[in-house]
Protein backbone atom coordinates (compact mmCIF):
# COMPACT_ATOMS: atom_id res chain seq x y z
CA UNK A 1 0.00 0.00 0.00
CA UNK A 2 2.78 2.41 1.06
CA UNK A 3 4.80 1.50 -2.04
CA UNK A 4 1.81 2.26 -4.29
CA UNK A 5 1.36 5.69 -2.70
CA UNK A 6 5.08 6.48 -3.29
CA UNK A 7 4.82 5.29 -6.93
CA UNK A 8 1.77 7.48 -7.56
CA UNK A 9 3.43 10.53 -5.95
CA UNK A 10 6.60 10.12 -8.03
CA UNK A 11 4.54 9.68 -11.24
CA UNK A 12 2.60 12.91 -10.56
CA UNK A 13 5.85 14.78 -9.83
CA UNK A 14 7.38 13.67 -13.17
CA UNK A 15 4.29 14.77 -15.13
CA UNK A 16 4.20 18.11 -13.30
CA UNK A 17 7.92 18.72 -13.93
CA UNK A 18 7.70 17.93 -17.64
CA UNK A 19 4.69 20.27 -18.07
CA UNK A 20 6.52 23.04 -16.21
CA UNK A 21 9.66 22.54 -18.32
CA UNK A 22 7.64 22.83 -21.58
CA UNK A 23 5.93 26.00 -20.46
CA UNK A 24 9.22 27.51 -19.41
CA UNK A 25 10.92 26.82 -22.77
CA UNK A 26 7.96 28.35 -24.61
CA UNK A 27 8.26 31.64 -22.72
CA UNK A 28 12.03 31.74 -23.48
CA UNK A 29 11.32 31.40 -27.20
CA UNK A 30 8.88 34.29 -27.14
CA UNK A 31 11.46 36.51 -25.42
CA UNK A 32 14.17 35.81 -28.02
CA UNK A 33 11.78 36.74 -30.87
CA UNK A 34 11.16 40.12 -29.30
CA UNK A 35 14.86 40.97 -28.85
CA UNK A 36 15.95 40.41 -32.48
CA UNK A 37 15.50 43.60 -34.53
CA UNK A 38 17.05 44.58 -37.87
CA UNK A 39 18.67 48.02 -38.17
CA UNK A 40 18.52 49.03 -41.83
CA UNK A 41 20.21 52.43 -41.32
CA UNK A 42 23.72 52.43 -42.77
CA UNK A 43 25.96 55.20 -41.43
CA UNK A 44 27.57 56.99 -44.33
CA UNK A 45 29.56 60.24 -44.29
CA UNK A 46 28.17 61.43 -47.62
CA UNK A 47 24.60 60.96 -46.37
CA UNK A 48 25.44 63.00 -43.26
CA UNK A 49 27.05 65.67 -45.40
CA UNK A 50 23.93 65.83 -47.59
CA UNK A 51 21.84 66.52 -44.47
CA UNK A 52 24.20 69.36 -43.44
CA UNK A 53 23.95 70.91 -46.91
CA UNK A 54 20.17 70.56 -46.97
CA UNK A 55 19.68 72.11 -43.53
CA UNK A 56 21.84 75.13 -44.31
CA UNK A 57 25.61 74.87 -44.14
CA UNK A 58 26.56 75.20 -40.43
CA UNK A 59 30.29 75.52 -41.10
CA UNK A 60 30.19 79.21 -41.97
CA UNK A 61 29.80 79.88 -38.24
CA UNK A 62 31.21 76.65 -36.79
CA UNK A 63 34.49 77.17 -38.63
CA UNK A 64 36.99 74.41 -39.30
CA UNK A 65 39.82 76.58 -37.96
CA UNK A 66 40.03 78.65 -34.81
CA UNK A 67 42.38 81.30 -36.25
CA UNK A 68 40.43 83.46 -35.85
CA UNK A 69 37.41 81.85 -34.20
CA UNK A 70 34.11 83.13 -35.61
CA UNK A 71 32.92 84.39 -32.22
CA UNK A 72 34.24 83.72 -28.75
CA UNK A 73 31.26 81.61 -27.69
CA UNK A 74 30.74 79.72 -30.97
CA UNK A 75 32.46 76.33 -30.95
CA UNK A 76 34.47 75.40 -34.04
CA UNK A 77 33.48 72.30 -36.03
CA UNK A 78 36.08 70.09 -34.30
CA UNK A 79 34.81 71.12 -30.89
CA UNK A 80 31.28 70.12 -31.91
CA UNK A 81 32.70 66.80 -33.04
CA UNK A 82 34.27 66.29 -29.62
CA UNK A 83 30.92 66.62 -27.88
CA UNK A 84 28.96 63.64 -26.62
CA UNK A 85 26.64 62.27 -29.36
CA UNK A 86 23.54 62.39 -27.17
CA UNK A 87 24.25 65.95 -26.05
CA UNK A 88 24.81 66.97 -29.67
CA UNK A 89 21.65 65.23 -30.78
CA UNK A 90 19.59 66.87 -28.04
CA UNK A 91 21.03 70.28 -28.84
CA UNK A 92 20.06 70.02 -32.52
CA UNK A 93 16.84 67.99 -32.52
CA UNK A 94 15.30 68.71 -29.10
CA UNK A 95 16.54 72.16 -28.10
CA UNK A 96 16.68 73.27 -31.78
CA UNK A 97 19.95 75.12 -31.31
CA UNK A 98 18.74 76.91 -28.15
CA UNK A 99 15.61 77.95 -30.02
CA UNK A 100 17.62 79.74 -32.71
CA UNK A 101 16.08 77.75 -35.59
CA UNK A 102 12.56 78.71 -34.55
CA UNK A 103 13.39 82.33 -33.87
CA UNK A 104 15.50 83.13 -36.91
CA UNK A 105 15.23 80.29 -39.44
CA UNK A 106 11.74 78.76 -39.48
CA UNK A 107 12.56 77.06 -42.79
CA UNK A 108 15.43 75.20 -41.14
CA UNK A 109 13.14 74.16 -38.28
CA UNK A 110 10.75 72.58 -40.79
CA UNK A 111 13.62 70.71 -42.44
CA UNK A 112 14.91 69.47 -39.08
CA UNK A 113 11.48 68.21 -38.07
CA UNK A 114 11.11 66.35 -41.35
CA UNK A 115 14.33 64.34 -40.89
CA UNK A 116 13.88 60.63 -40.27
CA UNK A 117 15.82 58.76 -37.60
CA UNK A 118 18.43 57.48 -40.05
CA UNK A 119 19.12 60.98 -41.43
CA UNK A 120 19.52 62.28 -37.88
CA UNK A 121 21.98 59.53 -37.04
CA UNK A 122 23.95 60.20 -40.23
CA UNK A 123 24.13 63.92 -39.40
CA UNK A 124 25.60 63.16 -35.97
CA UNK A 125 27.94 60.59 -37.54
CA UNK A 126 29.18 63.23 -40.02
CA UNK A 127 29.80 65.85 -37.32
CA UNK A 128 31.53 63.34 -35.03
CA UNK A 129 33.82 62.23 -37.87
CA UNK A 130 35.69 65.55 -37.68
CA UNK A 131 37.15 64.51 -34.32
CA UNK A 132 38.66 61.39 -35.84
CA UNK A 133 41.61 61.29 -38.22
CA UNK A 134 39.66 60.51 -41.34
CA UNK A 135 41.72 58.70 -43.94
CA UNK A 136 40.45 58.89 -47.52
CA UNK A 137 41.57 56.51 -50.24
Amino acid sequence: MGLNIIKLSLGSLIIFCSLFACNNSQSKQVKSVIIVQKDSCRLDLSKGEAVVLNLGECRYCHLRNDVPRFKKNIPIWKELAGMDSLKLSNFIFVGKHNGMYKKVFPAVLKRIDSLDDCQKRNLIHFIKAASRNQVMH
Binding site: G56, E57, R59, Y60, V104, F105, Q134, V135, M136, H137
Partner: protein, 263 residues
Protein backbone atom coordinates in the same frame (compact mmCIF):
# COMPACT_ATOMS: atom_id res chain seq x y z
CA UNK B 1 54.16 108.18 -62.55
CA UNK B 2 55.15 108.33 -58.91
CA UNK B 3 51.71 107.07 -57.87
CA UNK B 4 52.06 104.17 -60.28
CA UNK B 5 55.45 103.27 -58.79
CA UNK B 6 53.98 103.37 -55.27
CA UNK B 7 51.10 101.16 -56.38
CA UNK B 8 53.47 98.67 -58.01
CA UNK B 9 55.72 98.45 -54.98
CA UNK B 10 52.71 98.09 -52.70
CA UNK B 11 51.26 95.23 -54.74
CA UNK B 12 54.62 93.45 -55.01
CA UNK B 13 55.03 93.78 -51.24
CA UNK B 14 51.59 92.24 -50.78
CA UNK B 15 52.54 89.38 -53.11
CA UNK B 16 55.73 88.74 -51.15
CA UNK B 17 53.82 88.52 -47.87
CA UNK B 18 51.24 86.11 -49.19
CA UNK B 19 52.00 82.41 -49.34
CA UNK B 20 50.23 79.11 -48.81
CA UNK B 21 47.97 76.66 -50.54
CA UNK B 22 45.20 79.22 -51.08
CA UNK B 23 45.85 82.81 -52.08
CA UNK B 24 43.00 85.11 -53.01
CA UNK B 25 43.06 88.57 -54.58
CA UNK B 26 40.47 91.10 -55.70
CA UNK B 27 37.87 89.39 -53.54
CA UNK B 28 34.38 90.75 -53.83
CA UNK B 29 30.86 89.98 -52.58
CA UNK B 30 27.85 90.91 -54.68
CA UNK B 31 24.42 90.88 -53.04
CA UNK B 32 21.61 90.54 -55.57
CA UNK B 33 19.07 91.76 -53.01
CA UNK B 34 17.05 88.54 -53.25
CA UNK B 35 19.00 86.40 -50.86
CA UNK B 36 21.93 85.44 -53.05
CA UNK B 37 25.55 86.38 -52.42
CA UNK B 38 28.01 85.92 -55.27
CA UNK B 39 31.64 85.48 -54.26
CA UNK B 40 34.21 86.42 -56.88
CA UNK B 41 37.94 87.12 -57.18
CA UNK B 42 41.18 85.46 -58.29
CA UNK B 43 42.26 82.41 -56.36
CA UNK B 44 45.60 80.67 -56.76
CA UNK B 45 45.81 77.09 -55.48
CA UNK B 46 49.33 75.76 -54.94
CA UNK B 47 50.09 72.08 -54.43
CA UNK B 48 53.66 71.11 -53.54
CA UNK B 49 54.88 67.68 -54.61
CA UNK B 50 57.49 65.94 -52.44
CA UNK B 51 59.11 62.93 -54.08
CA UNK B 52 59.83 60.29 -51.42
CA UNK B 53 60.23 57.35 -53.78
CA UNK B 54 63.17 54.98 -54.03
CA UNK B 55 63.07 54.73 -57.80
CA UNK B 56 63.09 56.85 -60.93
CA UNK B 57 60.12 59.17 -61.46
CA UNK B 58 60.74 59.99 -65.11
CA UNK B 59 57.15 60.97 -65.90
CA UNK B 60 56.71 63.17 -62.84
CA UNK B 61 56.81 66.54 -64.63
CA UNK B 62 54.15 65.55 -67.16
CA UNK B 63 51.93 64.07 -64.39
CA UNK B 64 52.27 67.29 -62.41
CA UNK B 65 51.36 69.39 -65.46
CA UNK B 66 48.33 67.20 -66.14
CA UNK B 67 47.26 67.47 -62.47
CA UNK B 68 47.65 71.25 -62.51
CA UNK B 69 45.45 71.59 -65.60
CA UNK B 70 42.84 69.17 -64.24
CA UNK B 71 42.60 70.97 -60.87
CA UNK B 72 42.00 74.24 -62.73
CA UNK B 73 39.45 72.81 -65.13
CA UNK B 74 37.48 71.09 -62.34
CA UNK B 75 37.36 74.17 -60.10
CA UNK B 76 36.57 76.67 -62.84
CA UNK B 77 33.10 77.53 -64.02
CA UNK B 78 31.56 78.51 -60.70
CA UNK B 79 29.18 76.59 -58.47
CA UNK B 80 25.92 77.11 -56.65
CA UNK B 81 26.11 76.29 -52.97
CA UNK B 82 23.21 75.28 -50.77
CA UNK B 83 21.55 77.75 -48.45
CA UNK B 84 23.83 79.07 -45.73
CA UNK B 85 22.82 80.27 -42.30
CA UNK B 86 24.90 83.36 -41.71
CA UNK B 87 24.78 87.09 -41.01
CA UNK B 88 23.35 89.87 -43.11
CA UNK B 89 25.75 91.48 -45.57
CA UNK B 90 25.95 95.25 -45.74
CA UNK B 91 27.18 96.12 -49.25
CA UNK B 92 27.78 99.78 -48.45
CA UNK B 93 30.04 99.01 -45.51
CA UNK B 94 31.47 95.84 -47.11
CA UNK B 95 30.95 93.95 -43.87
CA UNK B 96 28.58 91.52 -42.17
CA UNK B 97 26.19 92.82 -39.53
CA UNK B 98 25.21 91.01 -36.31
CA UNK B 99 21.74 90.22 -37.63
CA UNK B 100 21.31 86.60 -38.69
CA UNK B 101 20.25 85.85 -42.25
CA UNK B 102 20.07 82.97 -44.73
CA UNK B 103 21.70 83.27 -48.13
CA UNK B 104 22.24 81.03 -51.07
CA UNK B 105 25.88 81.29 -52.03
CA UNK B 106 27.11 81.43 -55.59
CA UNK B 107 30.83 80.84 -56.06
CA UNK B 108 32.29 82.58 -59.06
CA UNK B 109 36.02 82.57 -58.42
CA UNK B 110 38.57 82.64 -61.18
CA UNK B 111 40.95 79.78 -60.37
CA UNK B 112 44.59 79.25 -61.22
CA UNK B 113 46.48 76.17 -60.02
CA UNK B 114 50.19 75.58 -59.58
CA UNK B 115 51.66 72.15 -58.97
CA UNK B 116 55.34 72.47 -58.13
CA UNK B 117 58.01 70.03 -57.03
CA UNK B 118 59.93 70.63 -53.80
CA UNK B 119 63.09 68.81 -52.72
CA UNK B 120 63.10 69.30 -48.99
CA UNK B 121 60.82 70.01 -46.04
CA UNK B 122 62.33 73.50 -45.71
CA UNK B 123 60.33 74.44 -48.82
CA UNK B 124 57.09 73.47 -47.11
CA UNK B 125 55.25 76.09 -45.04
CA UNK B 126 52.62 75.48 -42.39
CA UNK B 127 49.78 76.55 -44.67
CA UNK B 128 50.90 74.73 -47.85
CA UNK B 129 49.16 71.79 -49.46
CA UNK B 130 51.38 68.78 -50.05
CA UNK B 131 51.24 65.64 -52.18
CA UNK B 132 53.91 63.12 -51.16
CA UNK B 133 54.97 60.38 -53.58
CA UNK B 134 55.62 57.02 -51.92
CA UNK B 135 56.72 53.53 -53.00
CA UNK B 136 53.77 51.64 -51.54
CA UNK B 137 50.81 51.82 -49.16
CA UNK B 138 50.00 48.76 -47.06
CA UNK B 139 46.64 50.11 -45.83
CA UNK B 140 43.58 48.11 -46.92
CA UNK B 141 39.95 49.17 -46.65
CA UNK B 142 36.58 47.44 -46.85
CA UNK B 143 33.91 48.96 -49.11
CA UNK B 144 30.15 49.15 -48.44
CA UNK B 145 29.71 45.79 -50.21
CA UNK B 146 32.16 44.09 -47.83
CA UNK B 147 35.00 43.74 -50.36
CA UNK B 148 38.62 44.49 -49.44
CA UNK B 149 40.69 46.93 -51.52
CA UNK B 150 44.23 48.24 -51.78
CA UNK B 151 44.64 51.97 -52.26
CA UNK B 152 46.69 53.91 -54.84
CA UNK B 153 46.70 56.95 -52.60
CA UNK B 154 45.86 57.97 -49.06
CA UNK B 155 44.89 61.41 -47.75
CA UNK B 156 44.05 62.84 -44.38
CA UNK B 157 40.74 64.49 -45.11
CA UNK B 158 39.95 68.20 -45.11
CA UNK B 159 43.23 70.05 -45.26
CA UNK B 160 45.56 67.16 -44.45
CA UNK B 161 48.48 65.83 -46.46
CA UNK B 162 47.86 63.72 -49.57
CA UNK B 163 49.95 60.81 -50.80
CA UNK B 164 50.07 58.65 -53.93
CA UNK B 165 52.03 55.57 -54.93
CA UNK B 166 54.04 56.90 -57.86
CA UNK B 167 53.68 53.71 -59.95
CA UNK B 168 49.87 53.86 -59.48
CA UNK B 169 49.83 57.52 -60.53
CA UNK B 170 51.60 56.51 -63.74
CA UNK B 171 48.85 53.95 -64.43
CA UNK B 172 45.96 56.30 -63.58
CA UNK B 173 46.94 59.93 -63.98
CA UNK B 174 43.78 61.25 -62.24
CA UNK B 175 44.74 59.75 -58.85
CA UNK B 176 46.77 62.85 -57.95
CA UNK B 177 43.72 65.11 -58.41
CA UNK B 178 41.46 62.58 -56.64
CA UNK B 179 43.72 62.62 -53.56
CA UNK B 180 44.14 66.39 -53.58
CA UNK B 181 40.38 66.89 -53.75
CA UNK B 182 40.15 64.94 -50.47
CA UNK B 183 42.38 67.68 -49.06
CA UNK B 184 39.79 70.17 -50.34
CA UNK B 185 37.04 68.34 -48.45
CA UNK B 186 35.55 65.80 -50.87
CA UNK B 187 34.60 62.29 -49.73
CA UNK B 188 35.11 58.96 -51.48
CA UNK B 189 32.24 57.49 -53.51
CA UNK B 190 31.49 53.75 -53.61
CA UNK B 191 27.92 53.23 -54.83
CA UNK B 192 27.33 51.34 -58.06
CA UNK B 193 26.57 53.69 -60.92
CA UNK B 194 29.04 56.37 -59.81
CA UNK B 195 32.01 54.90 -61.71
CA UNK B 196 32.28 57.99 -63.95
CA UNK B 197 32.91 60.30 -61.00
CA UNK B 198 36.38 61.54 -60.04
CA UNK B 199 35.83 60.69 -56.37
CA UNK B 200 34.79 57.07 -57.10
CA UNK B 201 37.51 54.91 -55.56
CA UNK B 202 36.76 51.26 -56.23
CA UNK B 203 38.92 50.72 -59.29
CA UNK B 204 39.92 53.30 -61.90
CA UNK B 205 38.59 56.75 -61.03
CA UNK B 206 36.26 58.60 -63.39
CA UNK B 207 36.57 62.27 -64.25
CA UNK B 208 33.22 63.93 -63.47
CA UNK B 209 32.85 66.47 -60.68
CA UNK B 210 29.32 67.62 -59.83
CA UNK B 211 28.15 71.13 -58.96
CA UNK B 212 27.61 69.99 -55.36
CA UNK B 213 31.22 68.75 -55.11
CA UNK B 214 32.50 72.01 -56.61
CA UNK B 215 30.47 73.94 -54.04
CA UNK B 216 31.92 71.84 -51.20
CA UNK B 217 35.47 72.58 -52.38
CA UNK B 218 34.70 76.28 -52.78
CA UNK B 219 33.23 76.32 -49.28
CA UNK B 220 36.42 74.68 -48.01
CA UNK B 221 38.57 77.24 -49.84
CA UNK B 222 36.60 80.27 -48.59
CA UNK B 223 35.41 78.70 -45.34
CA UNK B 224 35.22 81.99 -43.45
CA UNK B 225 33.05 84.42 -45.40
CA UNK B 226 34.46 87.36 -43.47
CA UNK B 227 37.70 86.88 -45.43
CA UNK B 228 35.76 87.99 -48.50
CA UNK B 229 35.50 91.49 -47.04
CA UNK B 230 39.27 91.95 -47.37
CA UNK B 231 40.64 92.23 -50.85
CA UNK B 232 43.46 89.71 -50.29
CA UNK B 233 43.51 86.41 -48.45
CA UNK B 234 45.82 83.48 -47.71
CA UNK B 235 44.80 80.42 -45.74
CA UNK B 236 45.86 80.04 -42.09
CA UNK B 237 48.55 77.67 -40.90
CA UNK B 238 47.72 74.01 -40.80
CA UNK B 239 51.03 72.67 -39.47
CA UNK B 240 51.60 70.83 -42.75
CA UNK B 241 55.09 69.45 -42.03
CA UNK B 242 54.07 67.94 -38.69
CA UNK B 243 50.86 66.57 -40.15
CA UNK B 244 52.81 64.90 -42.97
CA UNK B 245 55.37 63.45 -40.56
CA UNK B 246 52.65 62.01 -38.29
CA UNK B 247 50.69 60.67 -41.27
CA UNK B 248 53.74 58.92 -42.80
CA UNK B 249 54.80 57.46 -39.44
CA UNK B 250 51.36 56.08 -38.63
CA UNK B 251 51.96 52.33 -38.94
CA UNK B 252 48.29 51.61 -39.65
CA UNK B 253 48.74 53.42 -43.00
CA UNK B 254 51.62 51.11 -43.98
CA UNK B 255 53.62 53.64 -46.02
CA UNK B 256 56.81 52.50 -47.73
CA UNK B 257 59.04 55.36 -48.84
CA UNK B 258 62.61 56.51 -49.01
CA UNK B 259 63.16 57.89 -45.50
CA UNK B 260 66.46 59.51 -46.51
CA UNK B 261 64.49 61.90 -48.73
CA UNK B 262 62.28 63.05 -45.84
CA UNK B 263 64.55 65.85 -44.71
Amino acid sequence: MLLEQINNSLSSAQNRNMSGGIMGKNLKITDNGSGQLTLSGDILITLKVLDLTSYSTSRLQSLMKFTEQTIMSKLRGGAYGEQAIFYEYNSAKRSFTNKQHTYSIRYNFSYTARVIQINSLSQLSGNDFVLALVDDIGHRFTDIYGRKHASGGLTQASGGPATVIYSEWEKDNLIGVHEFFHTLGLLDLEENGLENRLMYHLGKVGSNVTNKEKAIMNQFIMYDLRNMTRSNYSNPGNNTVNQLRTFLNDTSNGFKYNKAKFR
